[in-house]
Subunit: 205 residues, 4 copies
DNA sequence: CATGAATGAGCGTTCATTCAT
DNA sequence: CATGAATGAACGCTCATTCAT
């Protein structure tokens, strides 16, 4: 019982520290994060941060992961039933892109990191994806379903998934870098690209 | 005569400084560049760097632009005659991607910078691209040519160009981030993606 | 108890830093103060100075104010009873001038600074002085008292105070700049000037 | 003939350098003067400045002297005839104060410098003033004339001159430091102070 | 657990001055 | 006489991290 409380409190403090870091990242970017600023904003002292995170890097990585998880959660959330596979793919990518654009710093930090621990989560071209939770895994499954149900022609889901995923990744990054924020424009661009690519997938194209 | 010598020597020193910077960028990344390190590596004193570059930013931007220009030069270089438009697009993107992968740090720095001066060069979604030298402009022109010659169906070159360009951009970045260096694999992935997208363009699809 | 100790120690270190700064100021002047020198002299590292003072300016201002306060304290200190107003004015200005000459760098720094925060303390011509603690306020009050008691003729204390104050200020600065240190000479010059100006104040001149 | 031309040109270049320095002093203050900036602004190169001035200090001193000379020239310039001595003293000090306020940086630099070379020019309390050109010398002479003509009572001109001069000096500096620029206010304050002091001088006070 | 002083290394930048050309 | 590259020292300041308390 005692131990559980402590554990809970520990997590709550970690959370507070992460929140402070988030505030800094959002207003000044990742490069502006410093233990000093985080500690001050979180209401703790510099030294104490090290009781919860090994070093600055761990803190930053933890935050980026948290941000990434939110993007993935938004993408994976339940969706209207009865959609065709194509429709679902498009709706999910719209969610994904919008969520990424809302947290651009985290998204860039995660998706462009070459830290091996992060790459385990974000890589798309490597290996056969094991964890199906990952975005690319989910996409692959959807395509497989499309093939199985006869909505799509018979192609290799893995390779098509990579084509689609990287295409949207490129568009999403451009939207972020070129600071596009008009929702309608974003939706239109994402949809355009995906529709075009899906054209070749449909059985009755 | 005298003056020209001086000018040449000046350029040669600027080059030496840029080279030193390049060495650092390539081994430690752009964020690790410091005037101190550059100066030491170039064999000059810190202060002297400022006789050649206004400030650190100018130096870094100059280097990134230099790198970017090399990538663009490789992409734009003359190409085998008699290729179909589709073939030329694919060949040029293969060159582009390979060149980017050879200078990954510069590519990322340029393509992900939100510095307005750099965005003028790199932006793809904004405005109607004026300068035809830019990659996206060239791509647009090629597509237009494909439409004009009847190789492609009648679509809007500008919007298709953006679909293609961003798709390849996403793939290129993933290749860089996930440190893919096997040339055959790179070529295969780039070609796969572009072929798929071009499927929908061909008149006799 | 613990906390008080810490507080005390903190103050003691601040003092040490201020003392080191003082040493530099006194031997080389305010312009020669640098964080590096201060830190070295105080026996700390440069960075640590910033745990006690926000920046160089704060340190320098703190020191100047400290010096100025000492001058004012000497001027304001209790004085022999039963003096006429004229006598008190003269005695106080002699104290003031002597104190200023003993801390010439601080005096100059404070009295010649155009930093708004400092001007709030040192300005003499501006506004109606609110805080009566200030030198000019005290002088004004003494003159008012002289008028009230009938020792002085009926004049405007504010404007006479400014005449007297600025006159002594000019003399004090000359004494400092021309490095006069003979006490007798100083006293004679200050007294001469004030006597002459007070001549016109006395009812029975 | 040749030599004279050279000499003239030399002076003209020195002048240009001094003018550039002046521009910097007036917009950024003396502390912001650097050989680099001066050279650039004057249209010469850094190294060449040293062909005309021994070092930065010489340049700065030369400029301050030049400024000071202008103030003195304005003060000494011919004046309306037929003025009483008191009136002339007051008029000249008004000129002096106004000129000083127009070149505040130079005035402060000169009058507060403890450089022996400059003190030879600016000192007021020291020695019996030899050169009668100096402000204090002129004032002394005017007072002597006032005594001789019977306008003033019989006092020691030297000591009264110092009383008056330092008083105005203090006021002038306060006007500069407190950034008073309203001409009417300036004239009023200067006149008030001098009138009050002169009260005691007049035979029929 | 928490503090926050202290370190030591680093940063970008500016400067007066020299000197080979 | 004039150039301007180069030096070497200094500047204010920030930082991640450690550790005695």
């Amino acid at each position: 019982m005692r131990k559980k409380m402590d554990q809970e409190q520990r997590e709550s403090i970690k959370s507070k520290i992460l929140d402070a870091t988030k505030t800094i990242v959002e207003s000044e970017g990742f490069d502006a994060v410093s233990i000093r600023k985080v500690a001050k904003l979180a209401g703790y002292t510099e030294g104490n941060i090290y009781n919860y995170f090994d070093d600055k890097d761990s803190l930053v990585i933890a935050l980026a992961q948290q941000g990434f998880q939110r993007i993935m959660k938004a993408t994976m959330a339940e969706i209207e039933e009865g959609l065709s596979v194509e429709e679902e793919i498009i709706q999910r990518f719209i969610r994904y892109t919008k969520a990424a654009i809302e947290m651009p710093e985290y998204y860039k930090r995660m998706m462009l990191s070459d830290n091996p621990k992060i790459l385990e989560i974000t890589s798309v071209l490597n290996d056969k994806t094991k964890e199906e939770k990952k975005g690319i895994g989910m996409l692959e499954n959807m395509i497989k379903k499309g093939v199985d149900t006869g909505e799509f022609i018979d192609i290799d889901p893995a390779s098509i998934a990579r084509i689609i995923w990287t295409a949207n990744f490129g568009l999403t990054l451009r939207l972020i870098v070129e600071k596009k924020s008009d929702e309608k424009e974003i939706v239109k661009l994402v949809e355009n690209q995906l529709r075009w690519i899906c054209n070749g997938l449909r059985k009755e194209g």
